[in-house]
């Protein structure tokens, strides 16, 4: 039986990617709790402003005739806790010790699992994160508070963002036991900013884009789970975003993959601490600041494009776009290689959909594909970023069977999904490309088990290649491409192979010795409690017995 989710008890950023609801700007605050009682008082005040997952009255046909919808806020607010934050709030030992190991350890101590070595090593992270892991513990990150703000047609952010920021700063001052932490980058601010690229439409207005700094459209495969959408919307939303059943149909994922206290895809309850009310309707979150080396990326792409053009006997522009698409699995505008495998196909696809890019049908067309017809990766390379992040049906061990009853769908993928909830950060000015400029992605992954979902994808699929038969090659985009510093001469640098259908008579193409395109600048693991749990924390009334 599927029961309606208690949306008023679930924090809003779990169910919604605010970026796709017009919230194009964000501020991420990190705080330190110096005193447990003051910390609980602080949580109690902030609690009243938290944006829940209740459906908004947007005026669209989707929500017609339902009076219960709340008004969409201009600025959202959500709150999450590190393990050390919960410790600082004096939670009972029995509750703390039963929390998951990876959450207790925190992101920096998991760096070898996550591939955060070399340039991504914690000792090279932003100041706030280096302070957080320093032995004195005086500036440990305990709390995360996010604010996502609406923009107007001209791209100006609502003034309420500044108002709410001032409110938070004042609250810290008057509270006395909670402190905002600085050290996010060169600007000395007490928050990390995030914001979408705003593209001028031509009439003085702008539209927020989903492009990141390498100029790829991003965020298509966000999973869909039961109860996230109303039935009518769900039917189409699950295509390319849900799980694939053995009969090859798409279904929403079990709630328990993303929200604690609900059955998950193993037909069990996700592991969580005691008491039940403390974890139910909450979840875990990985926050990562991922810096993008735009100059290295563009230079390398230019170099590969020339070689690719010569080997494949195509124009340099086509070669550049093709290599760029092969690295990710999608053309720069988001069209999947499995939908439009060649440059000519891509141009035809764009032409067919010109002027209709805002339709729901177009969105579905960008997601509606499987890998069963492309197991060799002639269309989308097996090592491409998108294929690694979401393997869809690719790992079905009986996928080549001619008997449909043998098929397993996405059985080996549906326990490894994460909700992506971040935004890019830094300026999108198209000036000189600079690796040292402050820009990248605030990567936020929400899932019921950081170990089973986020860390597995990161370790086994991004930083390793065995499941894709590419040995120890890492993800061509976000993977660690450097030699393992501990391996000495035995460390290898990562390559990327673009497979070629033998029928074309062209050889496969190797992109050798990938430079480091993305480096980690900091982050941690957080618990995103339910509204019930927030009030339990605030009241100090968590009873695990």
């Amino acid at each position: 039986m599927i029961r309606d989710l208690n949306l008023a008890d679930i924090q809003g950023n779990i169910v919604r990617a605010y970026g796709s609801f017009g919230f194009a700007k964000a501020r991420y605050f990190f705080l330190h709790i110096e005193d447990a009682a003051a910390g609980r008082k602080f949580v109690d005040t902030v609690r009243e402003k938290v944006t829940t997952a209740e459906r908004w009255a947007l005026g669209g046909s989707e929500h017609k005739g339902k009076a219960s919808f709340v008004k969409r806020p201009n600025v959202t607010l959500n709150i999450a806790f590190t393990f050390r934050g919960l410790l600082a709030l004096d939670l009972p030992t029995r509750t703390l010790q039963a929390l998951p190991d990876e959450f207790i350890e925190g992101m920096a101590r998991r760096n070898h699992i996550l591939g955060d070595t070399n340039e991504s090593a914690p000792e090279k992270w932003d100041e706030i994160w280096r302070n957080s892991i320093s032995a004195d513990g005086k500036n440990q990150v305990h709390l995360w508070i996010s604010m996502n703000a609406l923009i107007n047609a001209k791209g100006e952010v609502t003034s309420e963002l500044e108002t709410q920021t001032t409110w938070l700063r004042e609250l810290c001052k008057s509270n006395g036991g909670v402190r905002l932490l600085k050290g996010h980058g060169p600007d000395g601010l007490d928050f990390q900013e995030g914001g979408a690229d705003l593209i001028p439409v031509g009439d003085g207005t702008v539209r927020p884009s989903n492009r990141e700094h390498f100029e790829y459209a991003d965020g298509f495969g966000n999973p869909v789970f039961q109860g996230q959408y109303e039935t009518e919307i769900e039917k189409e939303a699950v295509i390319g975003r849900g799980k694939i059943m053995p009969d090859q149909s798409w279904q929403p994922l079990a709630v328990g993959e993303f929200i604690l206290g609900h059955p998950d895809e193993s037909q069990g309850l996700p592991e969580a601490s005691k008491p039940w009310e403390f974890t139910r309707n909450g979840t875990f979150m990985a926050y990562r600041k991922l810096h993008e080396n735009t100059k290295s990326f563009v230079d390398y792409l230019d170099r590969m494009a020339e070689q690719y053009a010569a080997v494949m006997e195509v124009g340099v522009e086509e070669a550049r776009e093709t290599v760029k698409a092969k690295l990710v699995g999608r053309w720069a505008n988001g069209v999947p290689l499995n939908v439009a495998p060649t440059y000519a196909d891509k141009l035809a696809f764009d032409k067919k959909w010109k002027g209709k890019e805002d339709t729901r049908e177009y969105g579905t067309a960008l997601r509606d594909f499987k890998f069963a017809d492309d197991l060799e990766g002639f269309q989308c390379p097996v090592s491409a970023h998108m294929r690694r992040a979401n393997t869809r049906d690719m790992l079905d061990p009986r996928i080549t069977s001619t008997k449909p009853s043998d098929w397993a769908g996405s059985a080996l993928n549906k326990r490894r999904r994460i909700l992506r909830r971040g935004l890019p950060y830094g300026s999108f000015e198209k000036g000189a490309r600079d690796d040292n400029a402050e820009h990248g992605i605030i990567f936020i992954a929400v899932c019921a088990s950081l170990f089973r979902q986020f860390e597995f994808v990161q370790q086994q699929w991004m930083q390793y290649g065995l499941d894709f038969n590419v040995g120890n090659e890492t993800c061509p985009i976000i993977g660690n491409h450097g030699r393992d510093p501990d391996a000495g001469e035995h460390g290898t640098q990562s390559n990327f192979v673009i497979a070629s259908d033998p029928k074309t008579g062209k050889p496969p193409f190797v992109c050798p010795n990938l430079p480091q395109f993305v480096t980690t600048r900091g982050g941690d693991y957080f618990f995103l409690p339910s509204m019930t749990a927030l009030s339990m924390i605030a009241m100090g009334s968590i009873d695990p017995t």
């Binding site: 070898h112 080997v311 501990d486 001469e489 035995h490 050889p507 193409f509 050798p512």
Partner: protein
């Protein structure tokens, strides 16, 4: 015999550890189990993990060119799983008193588990003994250092007596692990159809005769129901029921025997799955990636000349030619000879 499978011998050894004490390096009395654990901790592992890769001190097993995997472990005791579970009602009926403790299973001594997977051309104890004599030649000092804490090892003086000792401690490997087939191996089909037919016929005789016999119990004149020409007059329906039952059991038992016999046949040997060939393959993969990257986009003449030089330098079909040494994770280019 699953000890031999897929062209490899999977040797599992459980050697009892002495229950006495010895003097440690510091002169402190320690148990043989402690001394053995210390010895194993000092035994270098292969240079294949983050902590060992640059240590320069390779596993002694790397001196042997037939050993795929070798591992040691100390089993202190069996793990106690608690009382045998029982049903409260069953206990009440049988008068079992749950307050009285049940016996607890223990090992009489700790055991050293040794597991070696190695290449052999065929099944048989001679092949196992040949490998063990070879291993003694490669690393007798290390083997002595480890096995000296095991009961009865004092009698081992050379390769032959080491092989005898290991044979006495061998337990059957019931689940070997084959990972060298990259295509489905050519396995014989086991045709179940005649077996299913046999079971269906015998079971049908049993069920039908039983039903008829039961009719007789309730007053039916079953003695006069005969299958003309097929049932001799001395054979009753109850007799036929018994025959059907026995025949069904016999056919199922024969099927079980046939399945088990088929399961005991060794898995076929995968092509080029001996250690030398595997090392050569790993070596060639590394060199070939470099070759492809360096020759990408070159014209046919340069490619032809370059590949000729590659074949000459690395001799792909010669497993004894340039290759990777055992016990390392990779062969950096500078070390490739």
């Amino acid at each position: 015999m699953p000890n031999f499978d897929g062209g490899h011998y999977f040797l599992t050894v459980l050697a009892p550890v002495r229950n006495d004490t010895v003097a440690s390096d510091d002169g402190v009395p320690i148990s043989c189990e402690q001394a053995l654990r210390g010895e194993l901790a000092r035994l270098p592992t292969a240079l294949q993990s983050r902590v060992s890769v640059t240590s320069g001190l390779n596993s002694p097993f790397a001196r042997n060119k037939r050993t795929h995997f070798a591992r040691f472990s100390v089993i202190s005791d069996v793990i106690y799983n608690g009382r045998n579970p029982s049903d409260a009602i069953f206990n009440a009926v049988t008068g079992t008193n749950p307050i009285i403790p049940q016996p607890v299973d223990r090992l009489t001594s700790p055991f050293l588990l040794a597991a070696f997977d190695f290449d052999v051309p065929r099944s048989g104890d001679d092949e196992r003994d040949g490998y063990l004599r070879e291993l003694w030649g490669d690393m007798s000092e290390e083997l002595k250092a480890v096995f000296q804490f095991c009961t009865g090892f004092e009698r081992v003086t050379d390769g032959a007596s080491f092989a005898d000792y290991i044979a006495k401690c061998q337990v059957e490997t019931t689940m070997p692990f084959n990972d060298y087939w990259i295509t489905p191996p050519p396995l014989p089909e086991f045709n179940l159809t005649p077996w299913k037919l046999g079971i269906a016929i015998t079971a049908a005789i049993f069920v039908i005769s039983l039903l008829i016999s039961l009719c007789g119990l309730f007053g039916g004149d079953v003695a006069s129901w005969r299958i003309s020409g097929m049932m001799p007059s001395w054979l009753s329906w109850w007799g036929l029921t018994l025959i059907g039952l026995v025949a069904t059991v016999v056919v199922i038992w024969l099927l079980y025997r046939a399945v088990m016999a088929a399961g005991l046949k060794p898995f076929p040997t995968a092509p080029d799955s001996d250690l030398k060939s595997v090392l050569k393959a790993i070596f060639l993969q590394q060199r070939f990636v470099e070759f492809v990257v360096e020759h990408q986009g070159k014209d046919a003449a340069a490619l032809y000349a370059g590949f000729g030089a590659f074949l000459e330098q690395y001799q792909p079909s010669n497993p004894d030619g340039p290759t990777q040494t055992p016990g390392v994770i990779s062969t950096p280019r500078g070390e490739a000879k």
